[in-house]
């Protein structure tokens, strides 16, 4: 499996996931630059994501929404804070209203995506930090169903790989 390490920092409300992909860094980076590819991996298959604005450039805002099986839309945004092509990008990930404007009442997390070359391809390190335990709990309350469905998606992907 591509996930090689998971570090949970309970005190700092931080989750760090390390994954190894059998593709060059430039290829993995291209996935994050391309909204059409990004939406294929962002949400679980039952909650397809649609990226509306996405440039992967510092100072820009990415907007997206996910659609539930019942047709309900859950929107989010990224405020892209830093981009060092093919190596790292950072953003603040938040929830949005249905018109894609940020919803300040819901928590924002700080994300750092870091990519480096390995012998077999790419090592990606994803770090997500929540401001408080309350924020973490709130995100989990909202994403509970997504989490459960992701697990199923993971099994499907695993089987598809053979």
């Amino acid at each position: 499996m591509p996930v090689t390490d998971i570090a949970k920092d309970v005190e700092n409300h931080t989750l760090t996931i390390t994954a190894e992909f059998a593709a060059p860094v430039a290829r993995v980076w291209a996935l994050y630059e391309d909204p059409r590819q990004l939406e294929q991996v962002w949400g679980p298959p039952e909650y397809p994501a649609t990226f509306v604005d996405h440039e992967l450039r510092a100072g820009t805002r990415t907007t997206y929404y996910m659609t539930s099986p019942e047709g309900e839309k859950f929107a989010g945004y990224w405020d892209v804070t830093g981009v060092e092509p093919t190596e790292r990008f950072t953003f603040r990930d938040g929830f949005a209203h249905e018109d894609l404007t940020p919803n300040p009442e819901l928590p924002v997390s700080d994300c750092v995506y870091d990519f480096s070359a390995t012998e077999g391809g790419t090592r990606a390190v994803y770090t997500t930090t929540y401001a408080s335990a309350e924020a973490l709990q709130q995100v989990l309350d909202m994403g509970m169903e997504e989490g459960a469905r992701s697990a199923i998606g993971q099994i499907d992907a695993f089987l598809a790989r053979g």
């Binding site: 499996m1 996930v3 309970v10 992909f21 059998a22 408080s132 309350e134 992701s150």
Partner: protein, 109 residues
């Protein structure tokens, strides 16, 4: 324990954000200890240790009972699990996402 799940999460994380409290929790999870015995293990006053025990108790991580003149403290394993389980849920989201990235990348090769 009363309050919303958010209040509960705050209490849990606050309780665990201190080295002495985590150490106390490790001890009482292993078995019941009197507060006096616990206090003897730290370079601080009995009152200070008692305060740490009270924070853990408020967070629902520890329960106390009285036995004669002693206060006996024991850890609540289930409550400790609930903190870890919040991060486990996020892990599930990430594992799904990474599996999809991997699938997308390997499909084209």
């Amino acid at each position: 324990m009363t309050g919303s799940s958010e209040d509960r999460a705050d209490a849990l994380f606050h309780a665990l954000a201190d080295r002495t409290r985590r150490d106390i929790l490790r001890r009482v999870l292993a078995g019941e200890h009197s507060v006096t015995t616990l206090a003897a293990g730290y370079d601080m006053s009995f009152a200070a240790v008692q305060k740490h025990v009270a924070v853990l108790e408020r967070a629902g991580l520890l329960t106390k009972r009285r036995h004669g003149r002693e206060q006996l403290a024991s850890g609540d394993v289930e409550a400790v699990r609930s903190v870890a389980s919040m991060l486990d849920e996020l892990e599930a989201v990430w594992r799904g996402r990474i599996a999809r990235i991997d699938l997308l990348l390997t499909e084209e090769t």
